[in-house]
C-alpha cells in the first residue's frame, strides 16, 4: 500500500486529521492512566486477610445489665452459639477483626535495647520496634478464623488472661521477619516497655483491621486476652451458604440467653459484607473509572467512524474514478484502513508522551505510583484495534462504490 497518496490527501484535510490525531492522543493518555488507577484499586481490594472469609460471620452484642460479669456472660453466650446447628466453631473478640476498621495498635520491640534506641531517637522509625495491630479473643479464635499456623502452636488454656498483659503472643510472618530479620522469631522474647512477651506461634497472614500505612498492612499480633467489656463481637464459622441463617439463629440465641443487650442489626453481618463495606469507596470509584474509560473509548470510536463516513461521502467520486481505472475493492478498503492506521499511529505516539506526563502530574497530587511502561504498548494496540473496528463499516461502504460513479457528477 503506497503511503504517499494517503499523506497528500491528509495534507488537504489538515485540520480534521489533526483534530482526530489529538483525540486519539487524549484518549490514549487518559485511558492508560485510568486503567492503571483501576488496576491499583483492584489490587487494593483483593488483598488477602488470611482468614476463612467465606465461612465467617460476626454479630456484635452490647450488654446493658448493670453489674454483669462480662466473662461469665461471654462464656454463656458462646455455649448458646455453639449449640446452633450448622455452627462449626465460635469465638468472642473485643471488637477487632481484619478490615472492620476499629483497630488498636501497640508498640513492641524485638529487645530492650531496641526500645532504648527508640526512646533515644524519640521515634520508632529505624529502631527495629514495630507498631502492630492487636487482636484479642477467647480460646479457639485461631481455629475459628481459619488462620494458618506456619510455626509454633496455638495458645494453651492456661495462657489466657482476663486482666493485665499476657506473657505470650502469636504474630504474623510479616511482623516476625521485620522484628527479627534473618532469625527465627519463634521463642523470642519481645519487649513492650514493661514486660517480655514470648512468641509461641507464627501465622501466615492476618491483615490489620484498618490497614492505612503502606507496608504495614500485615503487621498483626494476637494476645491470649479474653474480651473484658460488656460489648463483644462473636465470630461464627459455618458453611458459606449457611451464614445468613446462622446469623438469624445467633441473634435469637443471644437474646434468649440474656434479653438485656443491644444487638445492632448493622453489626450483624457476614464477613463478606464487612469486607465489602471496607472497600466501598474503592469499588464505587472502580465502577466510575471503568465507566468513564468506556465512555472515552466509545466517544473516540464514534468520532473516528463519523469522520470516516464524511470522507467516504465526500470522496465518492474519486473512489469511483479509482475503481474505473483498475483499483480493486480491497484496494479501496485498504486505503481507508491504512489512512486510519496512520492517523491513529500519530495519535498514539503523541498519546504515549501525554500519558507519561499525565501520570507524573497525578503522582505529584495523589498517592499513585509510576505508570508501568508496558501499559503504553497495550494502550496503543487497543487504540489501533478500536480505530480499525470503527473505520471498518465506512471503509466497506467505500469499497462498494461502483466504478460507474466516475461517469456521474456528484
Amino acid at each position: 500500500m503506497p503511503i504517499r497518496p494517503i499523506l497528500s490527501t491528509l495534507h488537504k484535510h489538515k485540520l480534521t486529521a489533526t483534530l482526530l490525531t489529538l483525540q486519539v492522543a487524549f484518549t490514549c493518555a487518559i485511558v492508560c492512566n485510568v486503567v492503571f488507577m483501576v488496576a491499583q484499586r483492584v489490587q487494593r481490594i483483593s488483598v488477602s486477610t488470611g482468614i476463612a472469609e467465606s465461612e465467617l460471620s460476626a454479630i456484635h452484642s452490647r450488654g446493658i445489665e448493670k453489674g454483669e460479669n462480662p466473662q461469665a456472660r461471654h462464656t454463656a453466650d458462646l455455649a448458646a452459639l455453639r449449640a446452633i446447628p450448622g455452627v462449626q466453631s465460635v469465638a468472642a473478640v473485643s471488637y477487632a477483626l481484619p478490615l472492620d476498621q476499629s483497630e488498636s495498635s501497640s508498640g513492641i520491640c524485638p529487645s530492650k535495647e531496641a526500645l532504648d534506641r527508640a526512646m533515644q531517637r524519640n521515634s520508632i522509625d529505624g529502631s527495629g520496634c514495630m507498631e502492630p495491630a492487636i487482636y484479642d479473643g477467647t480460646p479457639g479464635l485461631v481455629g475459628t478464623l481459619g488462620l494458618h499456623l506456619v510455626a509454633g502452636r496455638d495458645f494453651l488454656p492456661d495462657e489466657y488472661v482476663s486482666k493485665g498483659k499476657p506473657a505470650v503472643a502469636i504474630i504474623t510472618r510479616a511482623l516476625a521477619q521485620k522484628m527479627y530479620p534473618g532469625q527465627a522469631a519463634l521463642g523470642k522474647d519481645m519487649y513492650d516497655g514493661d514486660n517480655f512477651i514470648r512468641v509461641v506461634g507464627i501465622v501466615d497472614t492476618l491483615l490489620r483491621p484498618a490497614p492505612r500505612q503502606p507496608g504495614t498492612a500485615d503487621d498483626s499480633m494476637i494476645f491470649p486476652q479474653l474480651p473484658d467489656h460488656a460489648s463483644a463481637t462473636y465470630v461464627l464459622r459455618s458453611a458459606p451458604g449457611d451464614r445468613l441463617r446462622v446469623l438469624k439463629a445467633a441473634e435469637a440465641a443471644l437474646l434468649k440467653a440474656s434479653p438485656n443487650r443491644i444487638i445492632d442489626p448493622k453489626q450483624m453481618e457476614t464477613y463478606s459484607q464487612i469486607r465489602a463495606e471496607y472497600f466501598q469507596r474503592d469499588t464505587t470509584m472502580i465502577g466510575l473509572l471503568i465507566a468513564s474509560a468506556l465512555g472515552l473509548l466509545f466517544v473516540t470510536a464514534l468520532g473516528i467512524a463519523g469522520l470516516a463516513n464524511f470522507w467516504v461521502q465526500q470522496r465518492t467520486r474519486s473512489i469511483g474514478i479509482r475503481r474505473a481505472i483498475g483499483a480493486t475493492r480491497s484496494d479501496i478498503l485498504h486505503y481507508f484502513q491504512a489512512e486510519n492506521f496512520l492517523i491513529v499511529t500519530a495519535g498514539v505516539v503523541l498519546g504515549v508522551l501525554l500519558a507519561i506526563g499525565l501520570n507524573l502530574l497525578l503522582m505529584t497530587h495523589y498517592e499513585l505510583p509510576r505508570l508501568p511502561l508496558w501499559y503504553l504498548p497495550v494502550g496503543a494496540l487497543a487504540l489501533w484495534v478500536l480505530g480499525q473496528l470503527a473505520v471498518l463499516s465506512p471503509a466497506l461502504r467505500a469499497s462498494n462504490v461502483p466504478p460507474v460513479v466516475a461517469t456521474r457528477s456528484v
Binding site: 516497655g193 466517544v299 473516540t300
Partner: protein
Amino acid sequence: MFDYYLRLALRRCRQNLPMVGLLVLTMAIGIAATMTAMTIFGALAGEPLPGISSHLYVATMDAREAVDKDNPDYKQPDSLLKFSDAKALVDAHHAMQQVAVAASLTQFARPDGKRSEKAYGLMAYGPVLQVLGVPLRHGRSWTEAEQASAAPVVVIDTEVAQKLFGTENAVGRSVTLGRRDFRVIGVSAPWNPRVRMFDVRQNQGTVMGQKEMFLVPAQAALDAGVGPLLAGECGKDAPVASFQSAAVAQCRWIETWVRLDTPATVATYDRFLAGYANTQHDAGRFVYPPQAKLVGTQAWLALNHVVPDDVHLNLLLAGGFLLLCLVNVAGLLAARFLRRQGDVAIRRALGASRRTVFVQHLVETGLLGLIGGVLALPLTWLGLWIVRMQPVSYADAAKFSPGVFGVLFALSLIVGLLVGILPAWRVCRLPPALQIKLG
C-alpha cells in the same frame, strides 16, 4: 442578521439529523459529566463558613504530658488541647476573637419530661456565635459573666425549639441537659459548616459539616455531666473516660480557633502561641518539643484530607472527558462545514465578508451547544442521582441546585462556541474563487 443566521442554522440542523444527533449528544455527555463533577466539587471545595473561615485559624501543638512509647513521633499537627490550655489561650485575648469548641451529642428534654430530642452541638468556651457567625433568631448569646460562673444557659436552634416547645421562640424556657436544667437564652437559625471542620481527626471519612443544633458553655455542660462526643486523647494513666463522659480533666479534647484578619496579626499570634507552648514545655508539662503552629482553616482541611482525593480526581477525569468530547465534535464540525464549501463560495462571491461567514458558522455551533446543554440537563440530574445512590461520604453534596442551571447554560454556550472556532475559521479562510471551483 443574527436571526437570519439562526434560521439558517436551524434549517441546516434538520438536514442531517443523525450527524447532528451525534454532535449534540457527544457535547451533552461531556457537559453532563463535567457538571456532575463540578457540582460535587463546588459543594465541597469552598470555605466551610463562607466569608468567615478564611479568617479562622486553629491552634496546634504537641501537648502530650506523658511519654508515649508506642507513638513518640509527632508527624501531624494536633489540635486537641486540655480544657485548661484552651481556656488560657482564649482568656489571653491575643487574637481579635477566639473560642474553644468541642463537638457534643446529648439528649434534650423538657423538664416536664414530655418531649425529648437527641441533638448534636458544640460545647464552647468564648463567644462562639460571633466567631463562627452563627445567625441568632431570638434572644442573645451568653455573657462573659455567665461563662465565668458556669451558669446553666444554652442556645438551641429553631428545629430543636420547634420539636420541644412547638414554637421557634423558646427564649426563657427551661430544658434538661444531663443532670441539670438549663435556661434557653437564645435561638439560632439552623446552621452547619458546609464541610466538616471541627474534630476532623476523629472523624476521618466524614465530609459533610455537622448540623450544630445547640451551643452551650463548656464548663456548665461538664458540670451537668454532659461531655464531648469524643474523649479525645487521655493520658495513659488517666481513669478510662468512657463514651461521652464528662470526666475529661485528664484528656485533650477541645480545639481552639482564633480569628485573625491580617498576615501581620497571624504572625504575631503564631509567636504568642509558640511562646505559650514553649513555656509549658520548659515548665515540664509538655514532655515533647511542642512545635506549636497556627493552621488556617483551608490548610487544616487539606492536611486532614477532609475532602477525599476521589472528588478532585473525578473533576479531573470529567474535565478530560469534556476535552475529548470537544475535540471530537470540532473534528466532525470541521468535516461538516468543509463539505458545504459550495454554499460558502456563493455567499463569498456575492459579497459576504470572511467575518460574516465566520459569525454565521459560530451561530450554528453555538446553537448546537445550547441544544447539547438542554440534553445535558437530564443527564446531569441522572449523574447526580447516581452519585447520591452511592454509599460514599460526600453523597449529600450531589444536590441539584438552581445555580447549576446558570453554570450549565454558560458552559454549553462556551462549549458550542469553542468547538466552532477552528472549523469556522477554516471555512472562512478559503478564497471565493477556489470555493466555486471546488463546488
